[in-house]
């Protein structure tokens, strides 16, 4: 049975659509309204408030925490300053990605790790020889993602602190509704945004204050459907959809290295030994088989296809995640794993995995699509990711 997030009382009351899903063992709202539009536009034009409490959290503490996390991660963690967060991924001995998430340095010897799937086994297995403790703290904190152009103003107002100075991927403590909270400038929407971390028992007053004070700024509670559209616009991966967690794969072909899922930029090879180092070094020298790319799927071709069937063009109102094959002529060269119509960019976008040689920006390939139960292919072009990247995300 799924658990209730610390904000459940509030989110349940607002969820008039009754559209929920399961997220890491919790009930999570897909969309409060029957349509995703209002929530999506809140993220892009004002501020969306998303209950992200189910995010899996581990607190890692102890004198060896930095060395331990560095050994576990493809990038150095020992250089991470207190009050900073990094995005990171973890691989196995053979360099296959297990999960991705963030690591925040809370204190000299304390870190908080977030993951997509439960990874306590992995953290525990590798603890041998290090003076660290690992504790799952998912249920202990309520997490609210406040994302969108007005998020900074709202948070500054409710905390009485000027948070505009908080750098991208920074972390600070603050007071909100007379409670101690942590605020990190992180998120999954690719926009200006923050995450507020509060102990579960103080969750509701924090929600209430944000909603009340945020009204003037156009705050809107938002669900996972709107988030999914924004994360694709931002070009962010979703574990289990755009790549699979290696230990959960049944065959090797399902596994990926960081280089193959567009995370090669974060791999720091030349340093103290870390898990997967030799395999990743070898792959770097050899070159990777696969690459993750952004696709712009031709709207005019899609329109023409519908036209041929005597239909107006039709698109799902939210993001899709049923993989579609990609072709170069007759040869299948990969698959698109998730995609969406971008209401902001007015483009039909997808994230895809393609064979080596098809990853250069501008490469033209074909994507399978069905209209009236019939299979067709339409052109798509490899484009830069992120698709949507406003200045305010980092500034």
């Amino acid at each position: 049975m799924s658990r209730h997030s610390p904000f459940h009382e509030r989110t349940a009351a607002l969820c008039t659509s009754y559209r929920w899903k399961e997220w890491a063992g919790y009930h999570a709202v897909c969309s409060y309204d029957t349509s995703v539009e209002r929530e999506y536009f809140a993220f892009r034009h004002a501020a969306g408030l998303l209950d992200a409490s189910p995010l899996i959290k581990y607190d890692v503490r102890g004198p060896d925490a930095a060395a331990y996390l560095s050994r576990l991660s493809v990038r150095r963690i020992d250089k991470l300053a207190v009050g900073r967060v990094v995005y990171c991924c973890w691989v196995d001995d053979r360099g296959h990605v297990i999960d991705d998430g963030t690591i925040a340095r809370l204190d000299e010897d304390a870190y908080r790790v977030t993951t997509g799937e439960p990874e306590l086994w992995w953290l525990e297995q590798n603890r041998r020889g290090y003076d660290v403790s690992v504790e799952e703290t998912t249920h202990r904190y309520g997490v609210l993602a406040l994302q969108g152009p007005s998020s900074g103003a709202i948070l500054s107002a409710v905390t009485g602190t000027d948070l505009t100075g908080l750098r991208y991927f920074g972390l600070t403590s603050a007071r909100l509704a007379d409670r101690d909270v942590l605020v990190s400038r992180t998120g999954y929407t690719g926009d200006l945004g923050y995450e507020v971390w509060v102990e579960a028992e103080h969750a509701l007053p924090v929600w209430d204050t944000l909603m009340t004070e945020g009204r003037a700024y156009g705050i809107v509670p938002a669900g996972l459907d709107a988030l999914d559209v924004t994360r694709i616009e931002a070009g962010y991966l979703l574990l289990g959809i755009d790549y699979k967690s290696a230990p959960r794969c049944l065959i090797d072909a399902q596994k990926s290295s960081p280089y193959e899922i567009g995370l090669g930029w974060m791999v720091q090879l030349d340093r103290e030994p870390f898990i997967g180092q030799a395999a990743l070094r070898a792959e770097k020298e050899r070159g990777s088989e696969w690459a993750l790319v952004g696709l712009d799927v031709s709207w005019t071709a899609l329109e023409a296809l519908y036209e041929r069937h005597g239909l107006p063009p039709s698109l799902a109102t939210h993001a899709w995640r049923t993989a579609a094959p990609l072709y170069d002529g007759k040869r299948q060269i990969g698959q698109a794993t998730s995609g969406t119509w971008s209401p902001t960019l007015k483009r039909n976008l997808a994230l895809a995995t393609v064979r080596r040689g098809y990853d250069r920006v501008g490469t033209r390939i074909e994507i399978e699509t069905t209209v009236e139960y019939r299979r067709h292919t339409i052109p798509a072009t490899v484009v830069d990711r992120p698709f949507f990247d406003p200045e305010r995300r980092r500034s």
Binding site: A67, R71, D92, D93, Q125, N126, R128, G129, Y130, E272, P273, F274, I275, A278
Partner: protein
């Protein structure tokens, strides 16, 4: 190449490896943590003026092939010519006097249980018929079934062929009994309960098994079929001749030199770092510490593959043998038979063994431990003051992970139970005890750096022997770390004072 090799550990395997390498022209430095050599085979002080010549009792498993290869007779090694005898203690009757001399054994059985004489001869004939197979397995590197090499395939075929040549009947018998429990198998042969208990006992040393545990016949065969003549002067004499041999070959021996870490670079050995802070550069290290110490302590976790480390951590190494040493103001007398006996053993029924084993499943000390008793001062009177004696006892079972931990009180309980059990056959014992020393598995771990206090550096069991020992990817002495060879009891053919792991590892290098 005559580049320097560092051997870690000055136990008998480390000495054997170092001597073998040096005799092949390598320059060798041996680093031993403790102040003396011999490891588990080193003499042990009980109290002022009282010593035991080694923690272990038997030297009759040391392999003649190793002694020959190292020409140990030129360095003082002598085999003991007298047969090994052991008195099975009995509270009521005359007990059973086991002997490695078959005639003597048959005569004893004629007295004790005449119907067991013929079965005894039959069993010995069967053992003789398969001995060469086990010896050959024992004295050569384990087969490598996963290797795709012609040479390897030929070796396997040869071994298979030798096995096949035993004849269908014997071959099938071996396959039938290997996974059996020793109690069932001995029941097929013998009548005397006491005899069966005495015969079964060695199957349990260094395993997590009682006589009713499946697979105990294999551990029994391994032990029984690799016994030969003992070394005159016991473990101390053996270690001495190994040391002399190593020194004569030019090995530089450094005692009191604990290694802290292996230094690696890109998965290759670059040197060793000592506790003292000193570092020694080398591209080759041969480690005879147990697998878990070698890989999980001497190598920094970051330098090791995760899957490999996990498999090493999963090697079962749960010590369950304790040592109790007694210093006595007079001889150890017994009520079973008149006379002094160097070796004695308790346990009159396999159920006594099983009951003693039951306790460790629940992390308890056996109420009545099974005792393997040695009075070394009968052979070597210098071990104790004149007229006094020392008694070395292997007590089974005492679990490493005792419930409540190994407190002083727990040690006292264990010591009391051992003394109480022995006193049943030796009423005058308690009054003569001058000093008593109790070494739990946890103490053995602390004292000797044995993971889990396990006397064989990892249990002997079907899944932890031969090409699975300690784990398949370092069962042939080479390891995933380039330049690191393993050669202690964690490797094929396993624990015991055999010299083989060190010898084969040196040859692999």
């Amino acid at each position: 190449m005559s580049e320097k090799v560092i051997v870690i550990g000055g136990g008998h395997n480390g000495l054997t490896a170092a001597a073998t390498l040096a005799r092949h022209g390598r320059s060798v430095v041996l680093l031993e943590k403790r102040s003396g050599l011999g490891g588990l085979a080193a003499p042990f002080e009980i109290a002022d003026g009282y010593r035991v010549p080694g923690l272990l009792h038997d030297t009759d498993r040391f392999r003649p092939a190793v002694a020959r290869a190292l020409e140990l007779h030129q360095h003082g090694l002598q085999w003991r010519e007298t047969p090994r005898t052991e008195l099975g203690l009995s509270a009521k009757g005359r007990g059973v006097l086991l002997s490695s001399n078959r005639e003597a054994m048959a005569q004893e059985l004629q007295q004790h249980s005449p119907s067991d004489v013929q079965p005894y001869h039959r069993l010995m004939t069967f053992l003789d018929s398969i001995r060469h197979i086990v010896e050959d397995l024992f004295d050569s590197p384990p087969p490598a079934p996963a290797k795709r090499e012609l040479g390897e395939a030929i070796k396997m075929l040869k071994k298979g062929w030798a096995f096949r040549r035993l004849g269908a009947e014997t071959m099938i018998e071996v396959l039938r009994i290997a996974p059996m429990c020793i109690a069932d198998w001995l029941n097929e042969h013998f009548e005397s309960a006491h005899l069966k208990a005495l015969l079964a006992s060695p199957a349990l040393l260094g395993t997590w098994m009682g006589p009713w545990s499946a697979g105990s016949t294999t551990t029994w065969l391994l032990d029984e079929l690799t016994r030969g003549r003992a070394v005159a002067g016991g473990p101390a004499a053996l270690v001495d001749s190994l040391r002399r041999c190593a020194e004569a070959a030019g090995v530089e021996i450094r005692t009191g030199c604990p290694v802290r870490h292996l230094q690696l670079e890109n998965g290759r050995v670059r040197g060793v770092e000592l506790e003292s802070g000193e570092t020694i550069e080398t591209a080759s290290v041969l480690a005879t510490t147990d697998a878990q110490t070698t890989f999980l302590e001497l190598i920094r976790p970051a330098d090791l593959g995760v899957e490999f480390a996990e498999r090493i951590a999963n090697v079962r190494s749960r010590g369950l043998v304790a040592k109790v040493h007694l210093a006595l103001s007079g001889p150890l007398e017994n009520t079973t038979r008149p006379g002094s006996f160097e070796r004695m053993r308790t346990g009159e029924h396999v159920d006594d063994l099983e009951r003693a084993f039951d306790a460790v499943k629940y992390r308890q000390i056996s109420e009545r431990p099974i005792l393997d008793v040695w009075v070394p001062s009968l052979e070597d009177s210098s071990l104790a003051p004149k007229g006094h004696h020392v008694v070395s006892i292997l007590a089974q079972f005492a679990p490493y992970d005792l419930e409540g931990g190994w407190t002083d009180a727990a040690r006292v309980t264990l010591g009391d139970r051992v003394v109480d059990t022995l006193a049943e056959y030796a009423p005058g014992l308690k009054k003569r005890i001058v000093a008593r020393q109790v070494l739990s598995p946890a103490d053995l771990e602390g004292e000797l750096g044995l993971t889990g206090g396990h006397l064989y550096h990892g249990e002997h069991a079907l899944d932890q022997l031969a090409f699975l020992r300690p784990v398949f990817d370092c069962a042939h002495y080479r390891t995933p770390i380039e330049g690191l060879i393993v050669g202690g009891s964690s490797c094929h053919p396993g624990g015991g004072l055999t010299g083989v792991p060190g010898w084969l590892a040196a040859k692999a290098l």
